[in-house]
């Protein structure tokens, strides 16, 4: 398993070989393919780019976008920025909790959804806002958010 991952990661980061400054892009690539950046992958990236493993670990933990554990099939990113907060993001969060049985930073029991709280998504005109994977959904209210989650769960299953 680990060997397989290592081989795959080695292939993925080939274009970045020796390019220290492109560590973040290399990690973006690994995460977009594997869904997360496991420990084994970090060592391969370090080796390929020629940076110390501690730098890779440091970078992975510093940037909010990177994760070291697998997420659910879908990632729900609920905006907790000020413009969403003032328009009721907390109520939407409660609805998500009711619907999925988990809160921020957790994955639903069926492995379908990971819920994250994020900062302003730059779509504040539609507040409150969330992203499900790469889609933005705006003007949420508790009813609408439940409906969206049900629909995504249905066709993404």
């Amino acid at each position: 398993m680990t060997v397989e991952i290592e081989a795959r990661v080695a292939e993925l980061v080939k274009p970045y070989a020796g390019k220290r400054s492109e560590l973040i892009q290399a990690l973006h690539r690994v995460q977009s393919e594997l869904g997360h950046i496991p420990k084994a992958a970090q060592a391969v990236v370090a080796e390929a780019l020629g940076v110390p493993p501690s730098q890779v670990t440091g970078v992975v933990s510093f940037y909010h976008f990177f994760r070291t554990a697998p997420a659910g099939q879908h990632t729900v990113r609920l905006c907790l920025g000020t413009a969403c907060h003032v328009r009721g993001a907390e109520r939407v969060l409660k609805a998500i909790q009711e619907e999925l049985g988990v809160g921020l930073g957790a994955t639903s029991a069926d492995g379908m959804f990971t819920v994250e709280g994020v900062r302003c998504l730059g779509a504040c005109g539609l507040a409150p806002v969330m992203m499900v994977d790469d889609e933005v959904y705006g003007r949420l209210d508790p009813k609408r958010v439940k409906r969206i989650l049900r629909e995504v769960g249905k066709d993404g299953g």
């Binding site: 220290r20 400054s21 492109e22 560590l23 973040i24 892009q25 990690l27 973006h28 780019l49 940076v51 730098q55 440091g58 970078v59 510093f62 940037y63 909010h64 976008f65 990177f66 907790l80 920025g81 000020t82 413009a83 907060h85 003032v86 328009r87 907390e90 409660k94 809160g103 921020l104 930073g105 709280g117 994020v118 900062r119 302003c120 998504l121 730059g122 779509a123 504040c124 005109g125 539609l126 507040a127 992203m131 790469d134 959904y137 705006g138 003007r139 949420l140 609408r144």
Partner: protein, 540 residues
């Protein structure tokens, strides 16, 4: 109950039926629902619109825009582009009926320099940008002007950085020009992360070529060959648009070696960020570009002499750069006719929260806050009263209604100890709890503190805990003085402006809304706070 903001009239007749109007309607309604526009946009099936021989026809009112030959895929585009983002889809538009009414009216009060092309040209086509005078300024700069003359013009225009600090752009460029060494960089800061701000995204998506042109002009002025756009990782469409625009500019010889057959060579790379607010700070951004954690550097030295890879570097905000082509095209004297003597030009704002028309506007510097909120933002919804405003983003100031007459420019706000910041204007009605809002802001800072220095790391953590106690009605009045002590210490001892600036929201909230804070401290229950009294780990 709600009054529709727009009506979409779909001509349904035999001809339209044959052309597949039913499917168009289904897609249109689906897209409207998906975008959450049901309450605002009403789809009306009407008889013929009087347009024949052109397939499915649609009219959008009050804009008075007509589309013809609409396919189901087009219907989706119309929903996303026109109904949601407010920019008519020119490709499908019929040349008829002048735009009128609400969106037009609001547009009428704006002065658009930076956003002049947004929603007007197709951002995916370089020819459209060129057709409205695009790349003229670059051509003039590289063929007729010396780099020094370009810098002089920018200096004379009085342009100041729109990324928050208001630093004179010409002075920055001139420092980089004069710094020694052959290798220099121009970085466009598109990491837009201030909560409640999306102006840079709209420029990137609506007029990417303007940014490319501006970066090339900056590079010519300072003597750089490499440019980098550091874009917020979440801005997928922005990344796609700017990348596409760069490729087109290369094809046209406007980027790459020997631009316009001169000795000037310059190219641009796009780098997506990875979700850290502090990377918007210029030295953290540079660290990030070097493949490291985004820890702000100790200054001096400044990036103008020791930036990316230790080389002289210009870092400019998207909106700052977007002013440059127009300044060169129409001259510094023209630019100075806009705005105030010390802050010439326009400013783009995002007006959000409890207003009738939330969104993006561009007006001259020095426009009173009241005009922005009540005329451009449409004021508060019927029957609601204003409680306060948060101006400038999370690191901004909470202002009471009495501050509405302040003029919005760097200097007038500084007089009130407030900042223009990112240009975010968050309007809060009387149902808002300011204590609760400050709690949200402080959770944001705790989450985004990079942890490099103790005053900020420990300070933001302590503030969140104190706020939680306050919101839970525990702790008493001394919490307020404790909070002020902490932010004072942070202002003096933090390493970068993130930690230093937390004092602004805290002090302005506590001073301006003291009664509300005292009520909380005395344990009076506040229904808006209880739900939020529990600090959630890992949440901004």
């Amino acid at each position: 109950m709600k009054i529709a903001r727009a009506h979409v009239l779909v001509g349904v007749d035999d001809e339209a039926r044959l052309a597949g109007v039913d499917e168009v309607l289904a897609v249109l309604r689906g897209a409207i629902a998906e975008l959450g526009l049901e309450g605002e946009v009403r789809v009306v099936e009407t008889g013929t619109l009087g347009i024949s021989g052109r397939g499915v026809a649609i009219a959008v009112y009050p804009d008075g825009v007509y589309y013809a030959g609409v396919t189901p895929a087009d219907a989706r585009t119309i929903a996303e582009e026109h109904l949601w983002k407010g920019r008519p889809v020119e490709r499908l538009r019929l040349p008829t009926a002048a735009p009128v009414a609400r969106p037009g009216e609001i547009l009428g009060r704006q002065t658009r320099v930076v956003l002049a092309n947004c929603g007007v040209i197709d951002p995916e086509e370089i020819d459209e940008y060129i057709a409205v005078g695009g790349y003229e300024a670059l051509a003039r700069a590289v063929t007729e002007m010396t780099p020094e003359a370009v810098i002089d013009e920018v200096k004379r225009s009085g342009l100041r950085g729109r990324g928050g600090a208001g630093f004179p752009t010409g002075v920055k460029w001139s420092a980089v020009r004069l710094a020694s060494g052959p290798e220099k960089y121009v970085i466009c800061n598109a990491d837009e992360g201030e909560p409640g701000t999306f102006k840079d995204r709209l420029i990137l998506e609506g007029d990417p070529h303007k940014l490319i042109e501006a970066m090339a002009i900056a590079a010519y002025a300072v003597g750089a060959r490499t440019g980098i756009v550091y874009v917020r990782g979440e801005y997928k469409l922005s990344i796609a648009r700017i990348s596409r625009a760069i490729a087109q500019a290369r094809e046209y010889g406007l980027l790459g070696p020997r631009i316009l057959d001169t000795a000037f060579s310059f190219d641009i790379e796009v780098r997506p960020g990875a979700g850290a607010y502090v990377c918007g700070e210029e030295t953290a951004l540079i660290e990030s570009l070097e493949g490291k954690r985004g820890w702000p550097r100790i200054r001096p030295p400044y990036p103008v002499t020791h930036g990316l890879w230790g080389k002289p570097t210009v870092v400019n905000n998207v909106e700052t750069l977007a002013n440059v082509p127009e300044i060169l095209r129409r001259g510094a004297a023209w630019y100075r006719t806009l705005g105030t003597p010390t802050c010439p030009g326009t400013k783009v704002y995002t007006i959000l929260g409890h207003v009738r028309f939330p969104g993006l506007v561009e007006v001259p510097m020095g426009t009173p806050l009241r005009t922005l909120v009540y005329e451009l933002g449409g004021g508060l919804p019927e029957g609601r009263a204003l409680k306060g405003l948060l101006i400038g983003g999370a690191a901004g100031a909470f202002l009471p209604p009495a501050a509405l007459d302040v003029r919005m420019d760097f200097d007038s706000l500084a007089e009130r100890a407030a900042v223009l910041g990112s240009g975010a204007i968050l309007v809060m009605d009387e149902t808002t709890c300011i204590v609760d809002m400050l709690g949200s802001v402080l959770r944001f800072f705790r989450h985004e503190s990079c942890g490099q220095c103790v005053p900020c790391r420990a300070g933001t953590d302590a503030l969140v805990r104190l706020m939680a106690a306050l919101q839970a009605g525990e702790g008493g009045e001394r919490i307020l003085s404790q909070m002020v002590e902490i932010v004072d210490a942070m202002r003096l001892a933090s390493l970068c402006p993130l930690g230093q600036s937390v004092a602004l929201p805290v002090c302005t909230a506590v001073d301006g809304f003291r009664d509300e804070f005292l009520a909380h401290a005395r344990g009076n229950p506040c229904p808006r706070c209880w739900a939020n009294a529990h600090p959630r780990e890992g949440a901004p």
